[in-house]
Amino acid sequence: MKKDYKKPSIKKVELKPDEAVLAGCKQKKICKKGSKNPGS
């Protein structure tokens, strides 16, 4: 028996690579003064 057809689709799911690869600095000792700590 044939299956129901639905138009083929690609759904995009966003990544936040800066967060995912720990690009931010969490510890103030390591970061420069005044910089953001986007790691968390």
């Binding site: 083929p8 689709s9 690609i10």
Partner: protein, 91 residues
């Protein structure tokens, strides 16, 4: 036109759907992962560097209930897969 899968993607079936994860060595290229629906997942499976688009249309027509715009849908979907770098034209 014959296409093959780009081998920098990790693919995994999730029941009827399929997840595609591009593996990249530059953070600027790491922005999205992708979910293909059932028909999209089946088309992905059929792209093997040997079948051309007409072969894939024929197989989908055999497996699914008839629909008017099937060939146009398929070509649009293949173009979308190429746009995200998941498939490439075979030489």
């Amino acid at each position: 036109m014959i296409y093959h899968k780009d081998d920098s993607f990790v693919a995994r079936r999730l029941d009827e759907e399929l997840i595609l994860i591009p593996v990249r060595n530059k953070i600027s290229d790491m922005n999205y992962i992708y979910i293909l629906n059932e028909v999209g997942a089946r088309i992905w499976e059929l792209i093997d560097g040997l079948r051309d688009a007409k072969d894939i249309v024929r197989i989908i027509q055999e497996e699914y209930e008839p629909v008017e715009d099937l060939e146009a849908d398929l070509l649009e979907f293949i173009a979308d897969l190429e746009k995200i770098g998941a498939i490439r034209p075979s030489a």
